[in-house]
């Protein structure tokens, strides 16, 4: 065995035996997809409340407005009638969770309607509770307003007045975002998780093999062995890379299994998450796993203590997620120079893989080569750091 593989094997075994750090670095890889799929499913099923479904709510005082109730029922409403004899304060009923949405029709509604006076309805719901009550409250409000407008129009017509006189303008809003673009935005979160997961996978190993080894006093004996510094450093980075790649693989497996459960079809999106596409993402990310390992190793080597290394690296693993946030916020078009930037190029291309978009293989190649090149530079820097006396601290 070469010195490189001896160091690699030792560091891997050493890290595998540390359950605490292993758990913390792999838990993100396992929980990330779970969290994403769960949150996504919740958001989609809640926010995109299906307009065709019957809307369900309760009404207190149905007897005061029979014609309105008939109208509401004709609008696909499932109305729960609250018996006024047994009803306490409707607010209490909502707060206690017995009803989640109550429309209160005032007792004198019939009278006021006949005499042309303003009648105030109250919609009661609790927005602090999970559920679709706020969305349904808006729908009920719209239905009530439509009914009110219809009554108003009829009144004006009876008096021989053109109803348009009291409606000087009308607003029509058009959302041009296509469903695929919406999905792009949602799926744009996946690269964020995947990148963070990959970096997190090497977090503790990078510290253990550098600042940790120095702090426990085994670095000096190690450096006294008849082994080139390059072999030692390469072995250490390769061990870290093994775990960034493993974390990446777990993460991708999680998303591959989890994403089909996200109800993307509810926003009219049919996406196939195919195995070749995920294999493509893994291939695309491979240079980045080495880049991450080398970057973390260099940063942890520069730190004076284990604690200091933890602080540096906690910040450092956030850095690769920044370009994703920027592109998400600014909605930048992918250009060739972006393919030169590690993490940015991977996140753009990963989204293309996920949305079954056209894959520019030239871009993939450029991304892999440029990230690989930077990874080699960082590796050389790490070897150089280990060749200095100051590495002993």
């Amino acid at each position: 065995m070469s010195a490189f593989s001896i160091v690699l094997a030792k560091e891997c075994i050493d890290n595998l035996r540390d359950r605490r750090t292993l758990m913390s670095s792999l838990s993100l890889a396992l929980l990330g997809p779970l969290f994403f799929v769960g949150a996504m499913s919740l958001v989609l099923s809640e926010a995109i409340d299906d307009q065709d479904d019957a809307i369900r709510f309760s009404v207190l005082g149905t007897d005061h407005a029979p014609e309105l109730i008939r109208y509401l029922e004709s609008q696909n409403s499932e109305i729960g009638r609250i018996d006024p004899a047994h009803a306490s304060d409707p607010r209490v009923l909502v707060r206690s969770g017995e009803h989640d949405l109550i429309v209160v029709i005032p007792e004198n509604h019939g009278e006021r309607l006949r005499s042309g006076q303003l009648s105030t309805f109250t919609i009661i719901y609790d927005s602090s509770e999970l559920g679709s009550a706020p969305q349904r409250a808006r729908r009920v409000e719209r239905m009530l307003e439509t009914w009110g407008r219809t009554v108003g129009v009829l009144r004006l017509q009876l008096r021989g007045i053109d109803p348009l006189l009291v409606q000087p303008l009308m607003v029509d809003s058009v959302d041009v975002a296509s469903t695929s673009e919406q999905a792009l935005k949602l799926l744009g979160m996946v690269p964020y998780f995947v990148l963070l997961g990959a970096f997190m996978g090497g977090f503790y190993l990078a510290i253990d093999t550098t600042a940790g080894e120095r702090e426990q006093g085994s670095l000096e004996p190690l450096l006294s062995q008849p082994v080139s510094r390059a072999a030692l450093v390469l072995g250490k980075i390769a061990a870290t890379c093994t775990f960034t790649a493993m974390s990446l693989l777990l993460m991708l497996a999680g998303f591959y299994l989890g994403l089909p459960f996200v109800p993307l079809d509810r926003i009219g999106l049919e996406l196939d998450f195919t195995l070749p596409n995920f294999a493509g993402i893994f291939l695309l990310m491979l240079p980045l796993t080495w880049f991450a390992a080398a970057l973390l190793t260099v940063a942890a080597t520069l730190a004076k203590t284990y604690k200091e290394a933890q602080t540096y690296l906690s910040f450092l693993i956030m850095v690769p997620t920044l370009p994703i946030v920027f592109t998400q916020l600014l909605g930048v078009e992918a250009t060739i120079w972006m393919m030169l930037i590690p993490s940015l190029s991977q996140s753009i291309l990963m989204t293309a893989f996920l949305t079954n978009d056209h894959i520019a293989w030239m871009d993939v190649l450029i991304s892999m080569l440029s990230t690989g090149f930077l990874a080699v530079l960082l590796t050389m820097l790490a070897v150089n750091l280990y060749s200095r006396e100051r590495v002993l601290g």
């Binding site: 001896i6 030792k10 050493d14 000096e220 006294s224 062995q225 008849p226 082994v227 006396e389």
Partner: protein, 243 residues
């Protein structure tokens, strides 16, 4: 045979050692004696090849440490100051790791490790992870690790630090065993008693300079004092302004 000539080393403006010269012979135990901060560790670290000398040469069996680093490292066993072991590896795995780095493998490596385990009386804890080991147990593991490749030269930086009486005795046995096996043993210490019990030759170093080289008899002669500790204090200049 270790030969050091005119070795100097500075860290920034601080001169750690200044023109240090001495030699340590085979089949003898040589002590590098000096107060804290005298430059003992710096000297030994240069010999181990982890520090580069500002000027001067350090040769082991005629090979300059920085000209032929891997050759020199293969022929020396080093126990650095406060050397740690891997907490999540067992004692045996710690030793095996360094053995492999020295190019040993298979049956020859395993039988060598077995021999060291017996020699250092490590049988009871050889297959336990070193986390939670006593200081004495840790030093034994670190020492076995340093000797796994059967080095001809052994360099120990304050090996008795933190050891209790029994562990110190065991270490003394090990060092004497190495001498009988024909090794050149160079160890540093700041405790005169330890040195007088064990060593053949003494190098006294203080303030980065060599103050004395010779055997124990010459030491008491040159200081004009039978009490070796008193002799050391005088020669190192510790009885004056320094404390």
């Amino acid at each position: 045979m270790i030969v050091v000539k005119g070795l100097s080393k500075s860290f920034g403006k601080v001169t750690a050692i200044d023109a240090v010269s001495f030699s340590a012979s085979d089949t003898r135990v040589t002590a590098l004696l000096g107060p804290n901060g005298a430059g003992k560790s710096t000297t030994l670290r240069i010999l181990a090849g982890v520090l580069r000398a500002g000027s001067g040469t350090a040769e082991i069996d005629g090979h300059e440490v920085h000209a032929e680093p891997d050759r020199v490292r293969a022929s020396i066993g080093v126990l650095p100051h406060a050397s740690g072991v891997y907490a999540r590896l067992t004692a045996r795995e710690n030793v095996r790791y360094f053995g492999r780095l020295h190019g040993l493998s298979g049956e020859s490596l395993e039988s060598r490790i077995e021999a060291l385990i017996d020699q250092f009386d490590m049988r009871t804890f050889a297959d336990r992870r070193t986390k939670g080991f006593s200081q004495g147990q840790r030093v034994k593991v670190a020492l076995a690790r340093a000797l796994v490749h059967n080095p001809r030269h052994v360099i120990l930086d304050e090996p008795t630090n933190g050891l209790d009486v029994m562990a110190t005795r065991a270490l003394r046995e090990i060092i004497l065993g190495l001498r009988y096996a024909g090794c050149c043993v160079l160890f540093s210490s700041h405790i005169m008693q330890e040195v007088s019990n064990l060593c053949d030759d003494v190098i006294i170093i203080a303030g980065g300079r060599v103050r004395f080289t010779g055997d124990l008899a010459q030491l008491s002669d040159s200081a004009g004092h039978d009490d070796l500790e008193e002799a050391f204090v005088r020669i190192a200049g510790l009885d004056g302004a320094q404390t």
